[in-house]
């Protein structure tokens, strides 16, 4: 009997296998209405943020045709230094010129909102990526090696988990000038060494006892090879899931720190609410009267945070077989 030889290159087979599993998972994912909603909101915000450069141009061509000089001098749609001199009092309520009104300093709220969106994404995803990379590597290696490595990282996780995150960040903000990148790094490191390592280690332990690890060892695979080629790919779905929750908590932490005015960022959703609060527009009667100062930014933070959480929950029901429908 003639042996059949597979002539297809390896990457093509891999791609096909990958596509198939992707399709299967997509079918499972599509049933989760809430996860789809989350994905929709994330895509909406991505487009919303990407459209930011067009917004001032559009407004200029509609409302500022006759006042070109004034437009270039005042930059009324700049999120940080903009000012609209043609409106008698700021903050002004929503109007055609400023679809979401202006803030107490005369800056356009919609442009602030759009300007901040890509930054929130960057911060959330960077922080979550760092968290997951650290968590996965440490989880996998402490499960694989055990012993001293395991004890060290688990005790470290115990200590990190003792720190209340928000309180810790508040202290850190006193001697580190927290810009977006540093904040993402710190958030990533704090949560990377924390509880996520324990969860991923537990998952890696179940992988470690499977026969193919033994097989890879007897075939002469080095420790690093086994960790990176066999253990990590098997815990990757779970890490990806925790990345989604990580994005939520990173965006939330940034917003809270900005709200308390502890971050060195020029504009973000949290800072928008901080501006409104520090200028006294969030007290008593004013809360309802100046709703456009806090509602758009607050709703954006909430929507984006919950969107990533919904996505994470949806993925959890796929990754975690115990939650699947029978």
């Amino acid at each position: 009997m003639k042996e059949e030889v597979i002539r297809e290159p390896l990457w093509k087979i891999r791609l096909r296998l990958w596509m198939r599993s992707f399709k299967q998972n997509w079918e499972l994912f599509r049933e989760k209405k809430l996860a789809l909603f989350g994905l929709g909101v994330i895509i909406f915000f991505a487009i919303f943020g990407a459209l930011y450069p067009m917004y001032p141009v559009l407004m200029k061509n509609i409302f500022w045709k006759d006042q070109e000089d004034m437009f270039s001098a005042m930059k009324p749609y700049d999120p940080i230094i903009g000012y609209d001199p043609f409106i008698p009092g700021h903050p002004s309520p929503p109007s055609p010129r400023h679809p979401l009104g202006t803030d107490p300093l005369g800056r356009d709220i919609l442009s602030q909102l759009m300007y901040s969106t890509p930054r929130e994404f960057t911060l959330g995803i960077t922080a979550a990526l760092i968290t997951v990379v650290i968590g996965t590597m440490i989880g996998a290696s402490s499960a694989y090696f055990g012993g001293v490595v395991d004890t060290f990282f688990m005790r470290l996780a115990d200590i990190v988990m003792l720190f209340p995150t928000l309180a810790l960040l508040m202290v850190l903000s006193a001697f580190i000038e927290l810009d977006l990148l540093k904040l993402a790094l710190i958030l990533g490191f704090i949560s990377g060494f924390g509880s996520i390592t324990i969860v991923l280690k537990a998952q890696a332990l179940t992988v470690k006892v499977r026969p193919f690890i033994e097989a890879a060892k007897s075939a002469g695979g080095s420790d690093m090879y086994i960790i990176f080629k066999h253990i990590i790919p098997n815990i990757l779905p779970l890490s990806f899931l925790y990345m989604m929750f990580g994005v939520t908590s990173a965006i939330f932490s940034e917003a809270v720190l900005s709200f308390f005015g502890l971050v060195n960022v020029r504009m973000s959703w949290g800072i928008m609410i901080h501006t409104a609060e520090s200028q006294g527009y969030l007290g008593g009667e004013f809360i309802g009267k100046f709703w456009w100062l806090w509602l758009p930014a607050g709703a954006s933070i909430t929507l984006l945070c919950s969107a990533f959480y919904f996505l994470g929950r949806g993925l959890e029901e796929i990754v975690n077989p115990r939650l699947r429908k029978r």
């Binding site: 003792l162 209340p164 508040m170 001697f175 809360i287 933070i301 959480y309 939650l323």
Partner: protein, 383 residues
């Protein structure tokens, strides 16, 4: 078991020392100091500046101060607060702690009761409208930007409906003629709440021994009603009722906000555990026996799903102390979270370290209690 607890206690002590050291150095390394605010004053003579430094211990180098702090820490002494000089840090914490605890314990109990009940229902009707709606609302509140929710609640209930006070601990207008301090009244209130909880627990214990369902329900409800009536009569006759009511009115809005924020956590845990348990064989058996649906749900499934919820509850109590920063700031509630912000803004090192250390001790104890409780409630787990 005893050996396990001993081992854990040993670990906790080591962890605590490492934690205290990290916290101390982190706070110590913050630029500027409490005394620097006063030293900058050009009207002070050099002698006065030296005296000031000496008074707050800044004449010694940092590592000596650290060693002194650790020495005092081992004597259970957290030092003297700068901001509230010459009060001890422990006494400041002890003044603030009941307020935070009362707020958070009440909110946590309510939100767990709500989460438990909702969670078992939505897991039972998985994929139906109720499931989707409750999960959606729950997660939106779980991830909502906390200050926004607080502002929104203040606006709705305080400004539009004028039902509740906007923020604060007491209304000074009512307390003008008071002969008793608010702290005393608050302690009495806590005592009252504690008695209520205790009676509820005892009633549940007695009810579990009783045979019929009506007798069980009667015992629980009657004892609760009796305590409520007795405490009402006590507050009415003592004349302090109006003050207690004032504090309670200030409590409602923060508790409501906290409950909204956190019920989804317990609801989702309950839902996921229930989904796992529903697939067990004994649930199928119970259904096949012809038992009504809600009896299978409440008696067979929900009881076994309670375990992760109980441990989560204990652990979340550990985080109450630090969780209050945002809520307490928004509602001007003078608890631990507010004290933390005050200490941070004025660089009150002993108070700041004290608050963080206290939080750490709380969390560690909560984790230990959760582990012990786990072994106690689940006979399959042995240490």
């Amino acid at each position: 078991m005893i050996k396990y607890i001993g081992k854990r206690l040993f670990q906790i002590i080591i962890l605590l020392f490492v934690y205290v050291s990290i916290v101390y150095w982190m706070v110590e390394l913050m630029p500027g100091s409490f005394v620097a605010h006063f030293i900058m004053n050009p009207k002070l003579t050099p002698e006065a500046k030296e005296a000031l430094k000496k008074q707050f211990g800044f004449d010694k180098p940092a590592h000596i101060r650290y060693l002194l702090y650790m020495k005092n820490f081992m004597k259970m002494d957290l030092g003297i607060s700068f901001l509230y000089y010459p009060r001890k840090v422990v006494s400041v914490i002890m003044e603030r702690l009941p307020r935070t605890l009362f707020l958070f314990v009440t909110a946590t109990i309510i939100s767990y009761a709500l989460g438990f009940n909702l969670g078992k229902r939505i897991a039972w009707r998985r994929g139906k409208f109720l499931d989707t709606a409750a999960t959606f609302v729950g997660i939106v509140f779980w991830t909502i930007f906390t200050p926004i929710l607080a502002i929104f609640n203040i606006w709705i209930f305080g400004v539009l409906l004028k039902l509740l006070p906007l923020n604060g601990f007491i209304d000074p207008n009512i307390w003008r003629k008071a002969t008793i301090s608010s702290q005393e009244i608050f302690k009495l209130l806590i005592l009252n709440g504690g008695i209520l909880l205790l009676v509820f627990a005892v009633a549940l214990l007695i009810a579990s021994r009783l045979k019929t369902l009506t007798a069980k329900k009667m015992t629980v409800w009657m004892s609760l009603l009796a305590v409520l009536i007795i405490s009402f009569i006590y507050w009415y006759t003592s004349g302090y009722g109006i003050y207690a009511l004032d504090i309670l009115r200030h409590l409602i809005l923060p508790i409501f906000t906290l409950t909204l924020l956190s019920f989804a956590g317990s609801m989702l845990v309950m839902r996921d555990t229930m989904l796992e348990i529903i697939r067990e064989d004994y649930i199928t058996t119970a259904k096949a026996k012809g038992l009504p649906d809600n009896i299978v749900r409440d008696k067979h499934a929900a009881r076994n799903a309670l375990l992760p919820l109980v441990t989560n509850f204990v652990i979340s109590l550990g985080f109450t102390v630090s969780g209050g920063i945002i809520t307490e700031t928004m509602f001007s509630w003078p608890g631990m979270g507010r004290a933390y912000i005050e200490a941070l803004n004025s660089q009150d090192i002993p108070l700041l370290v004290g608050l963080l250390v206290f939080t750490g001790i709380f969390v560690l104890i909560a984790h230990l209690v959760a582990d012990i409780l786990y072994a106690f409630l689940d006979p399959r787990i042995r240490y």
